[in-house]
């Protein structure tokens, strides 16, 4: 079976890539002059000896290669080490934030995918029309502004000025939940979470949808000039049939390959968005961990984020294998 062989190959490649990436991150973090015990030294009232004892306790005195193998062994057991700053296993710290990131990223990803592809097909098929021109302009103008600036504007406008101007609707400013949501019923809690998700998601999704449709549009325009479209037309297919039976699937192929890449970009965007909207996700955690020099946590968060990206890529490639018969035999 060509397909299974292909999937296996992709899987092995993904694992190898992940392994190399993880190794890279480990060494990047261990050759730098940072020492995890620094985080204690900013404090006046802490005993001098503490860093030493901590160093001993966590085996930081071992040679680097030994630490690396310990790290690998732990990684296989799902242990990403210990966050010195949080005083907890890294896994646990990330586990607290990951659901929020997955919620934000996941919903953005799905909406991006569906809306992006549909919008892209629409504008490509109506190429040269007013819809298309508006789309091209919107895409370029929206993406010309830095994402965080758009986020800042959104917060100021929909969270603050809407309130000031007595609009009936204004959006929450902080976090992902109302602190008093424990009083709510389950439905209300879900509503509350969605209500808090609305603004960050919108900022992320607008840019994502525009990006995806831009890509889809380009592909479809390319596909439209392919010979088999002409063939299909000669068969007597209507334009819509051509679009959905012949154009769509072929244009979708490169889009699917780019899913993996887009996960990386999405995560980058979510870091900015989480930071602007105080959203308690892994991206924000990574940023804070960096600023607090919590090296193990940085390493762990990065390993998880890279894993997410890779997973996205893998899924995309497997999907590709299903859709495009050519790669199975290649």
């Amino acid at each position: 079976m060509g397909l299974w062989k292909y999937i296996l190959k992709r899987l092995i490649f993904a694992l190898v890539t992940y392994f190399v990436a993880v190794t890279l991150v480990f060494f990047i973090y261990h050759v730098m002059q940072g020492d995890p015990t620094y985080i204690y030294s900013g404090n006046v009232h802490i005993d001098e000896d503490i860093p030493d004892s901590t160093r001993e306790r966590w085996g930081l005195d071992e040679p680097l290669w030994k630490q690396y193998f310990i790290f690998l062994r732990n990684l296989l057991q799902g242990d990403l080490g210990y966050s010195f700053f949080k005083g907890k296993p890294v896994m646990e710290v990330i586990g607290e934030t990951l659901p929020w990131t997955l919620l934000l990223l996941g919903s953005a990803f799905i909406i991006n995918g569906i809306l992006g592809i549909l919008l892209g097909s629409l504008v490509a098929w109506r190429r040269g029309s007013k819809v298309d021109a508006t789309f091209v302009l919107t895409y370029n103008v929206y993406n010309a502004f830095p994402l965080f600036f758009v986020g800042m504007l959104f917060i100021a406008l929909f969270g603050y000025y809407f309130y000031i101007w007595d609009f009936p609707i204004y959006f929450p400013l902080l976090g992902a939940q109302n602190p008093l949501s424990y009083r709510f019923t389950f439905i209300q809690q879900v509503g509350d979470v969605l209500w808090h998700l609305a603004m960050p998601l919108t900022v992320l999704v607008i840019s994502g949808v525009l990006g995806w449709s831009w890509f889809m549009r380009g592909n479809l325009i390319n596909v439209k000039t392919e010979d088999y479209i002409q063939t299909a037309r000669a068969k007597g297919l209507s334009e819509n049939q051509i679009l959905f039976k012949h154009g769509f699937r072929n244009a979708l192929l490169p889009v699917i390959t780019s899913i993996g890449m887009s996960v990386g970009g999405l995560i980058g965007g979510s870091v900015l968005i989480e930071s602007v909207f105080n959203y308690p996700g892994t991206g924000l955690l990574l940023l804070n961990a960096l600023l607090e020099n919590d090296y193990n946590l940085v390493q762990g968060a990065f390993i998880i984020i890279a894993g997410l990206t890779l997973l996205g890529l893998l899924i995309a490639e497997i999907l590709y294998g299903f859709i495009d018969p050519r790669v199975r035999n290649a």
Binding site: Y38, I50, L174, A176
Partner: protein
């Protein structure tokens, strides 16, 4: 779509009118009886590291934990120790044995009664385990503890410590419940469901979002009157400001003056200005010529317009810091030390006197005795925009007195490593811009010892960031040791005065400014805020004191909503029936 029955319409109008009338009538005019209830929202700049009070290391954690845990003694907003868990304290004639009388009827958050054993447990833990990061230095000077009876505990020091030593370094240690902590590894316990005996119970912790506290109803002091307190984590002060104006927060610090002006337009918002125990200094590496010349350092300080730094780089918050490195208030402050008012002419003439003239070329930069330009690199933390701003102001001042300054912004980590702050002993810098926080020079007589004592940690040769040396340093070290040995407050004061004079003259650090803060708070919901010159309205005493202006009513709109739903349903049913 729905035709309302006339009867329903009329009854609805009546109900509406009635409910409006009810809500307009003031229910009570600040009765004697405190009004219980309400939720206070306060912000916090970043998430905490851990809830383990023995290993935590950030001000955020301390802030959160101070809701949950109580100590024997608490310093109030005027920096006077107040009894909390204990009701009284006394020392014996030798001054070595201190006895604390505990209050009765204290209850842990989980309902377990508080006993003297809990106190003994906590103390013994700190005494016996010297790997605990949050352990005070004073436990090295304790021989043991005695539980006299259920309400009296005593501590036996190996010397007679000063009053402040006992109060600040010993009595303010948080007490933990024995029944939880005796079976855990203190260093790795995450303490996620923290149980203390403080005014608030930890009800919910959503990482990176908020803490929700519920009032500890059986609290041993008066209050808290609040039903709940929410600590919201707000990374961006701008978002915090939006939240404050929309009622999502009751308190906000860190807003710049213009924003404060904007906010003050709202009658529901008040402001309070206060000072921090945090001062910034210019560190001149005295291991390098010409920074080791006292007059050179003095000239630099004369040539620096420190009040403008406060006004511009610090938004007008705080004060210029006295050259003696002490806070200009409190019991131990000596106002009669050398002052360095901004004086370019004096600075220039001092440099001229030193022989640092612009003799080579006409580039406006003086040369030292070796003919090398007076050109220095000032290392500054890149993360803190205010510091970079300050450095660029200093750059301008120095240009006026013929010193060429380049700014080198580096990450704080690197800066701290290069200047030897982490004990690296590199001292690889010329000038640096750093700050010291939390030496308590207003309340603690040992502050000078911590900062300047050559045998200590922070002033010692292991760190000694500016590389201060020479006779004045030896003198100051001597004086510090003497403070440690004496128990007489006046004598301590006198010694501290001497130290301040020497320091101000010799300038180990070139102190620039003391940081200050402005806190905005809402006055439309709560009353009874307590605050002092060094604290904003969001403090322990405020939490116990503030109460609602008027009782909380059950949210009227909910009832209205329910009513409307009923109306709609009835209407629909009737329509269907027709």
């Amino acid at each position: 779509m729905i035709k309302l029955n006339r009867k329903i319409l009329v009854s609805m109008t009546i109900v509406l009118a009635f409910s409006m009338m009810v809500s307009l009538v003031p229910t009570s005019i600040m009765a004697q009886e405190p009004i219980y209830g309400g939720t206070l929202y306060t912000p916090m700049g970043s998430d905490i590291d851990t809830l383990n009070l023995f290993t935590q290391g950030t001000t955020y954690s301390s802030y959160i934990l101070s809701h949950i845990y109580d100590s024997l003694v608490q310093y109030d907003v005027d920096n006077v120790p107040q009894p909390v868990i204990c009701s009284a304290w006394e020392d014996d004639v030798t001054g070595e044995i201190w006895t604390f009388t505990l209050r009765e009827g204290i209850v842990w958050h989980d309902g377990t009664p508080f006993t003297a054993d809990d106190v003994m447990f906590t103390w013994n833990l700190l005494l016996n385990d010297d790997t605990i990061p949050r352990r005070s230095w004073i436990f090295d000077w304790i021989d043991g503890f005695t539980k006299i009876d259920e309400t009296h505990v005593s501590v036996d020091f190996s010397y007679a410590p000063g009053f402040s030593d006992v109060m600040i370094d010993f009595a303010t240690q948080w007490i933990v419940p024995e029944h939880i902590w005796d079976s855990v590894d203190v260093l790795t316990f995450t303490n996620d469901a923290a149980i203390g005996c403080g005014p608030f119970k930890l009800a919910e912790y959503e990482p990176a979002q908020f803490f929700r506290f519920e009032a500890h109803t059986e609290y041993h002091l008066d209050g808290p009157y609040l039903a709940e307190k929410v600590v919201q984590i707000v990374r961006e002060t701008e978002a915090g400001y939006y939240a404050l104006s929309t009622g999502g927060l009751d308190v906000l610090g860190g807003a710049p003056p213009d924003l404060v002006d904007v906010a003050m337009v709202d009658p529901a918002i008040e402001k309070h200005e206060w000072l921090q125990d945090y001062w910034m200094y210019l560190g001149l590496n005295q291991r390098i010529y010409p920074m080791n010349i006292k007059e050179f350092r003095q000239a630099v300080l004369y040539g620096t317009n420190r009040s403008e730094i406060v006004d511009v780089a610090r938004y007008g918050r705080g004060l210029t810091c006295p050259a003696s490195c002490s806070l200009p208030y409190g019991d131990y402050y000596n106002p009669d030390v050398k002052e360095y008012d901004f004086n370019v002419a004096l600075a220039n003439s001092m440099l001229d006197d030193l022989g640092f003239l612009d003799s080579i070329g006409d580039d406006g930069i003086r040369e030292d005795a070796n003919g090398t330009d007076l050109a220095f690199e000032i290392m500054v933390s890149a993360e803190a925009q205010e510091s970079v701003d300050t450095a660029s102001l200093v750059q301008g001042y120095m240009a006026d007195i013929g010193i060429d300054i380049t700014i080198k912004p580096v990450l704080f980590d690197v800066l701290w490593h290069e200047v030897g702050g982490d004990g690296s002993q590199l001292y690889d810098y010329e000038w640096c811009l750093l700050g010291w926080v939390g030496f308590w020079s207003d309340i603690h007589p040992n502050w000078a010892s911590w900062l300047f004592n050559a045998n200590g940690n922070w002033g010692g040769d292991g760190k000694n960031i500016p590389g201060w040396s020479g006779d004045p340093r030896a003198d100051v070290t001597d004086l510090c040791e003497q403070i440690f040995l004496t128990n007489d407050e006046d004598e301590k004061k006198d010694l501290l005065n001497q130290i301040q004079v020497i320091v101000a003259e010799d300038l180990p650090y070139l102190p620039l400014n003391i940081l200050g803060g402005v806190t905005l708070y809402r006055v439309d919901e709560f009353d009874g805020w307590v605050m002092g010159s060094t604290t904003g309205p969001d403090n322990w005493e405020s939490w116990l004191n503030i109460q609602l202006l008027e009782p909380e009513s059950s949210p009227g709109f909910l009832a209205l909503g329910a009513f409307l739903t009923v109306v709609v349903v009835v209407g629909l049913v009737r329509k269907r029936r027709r």
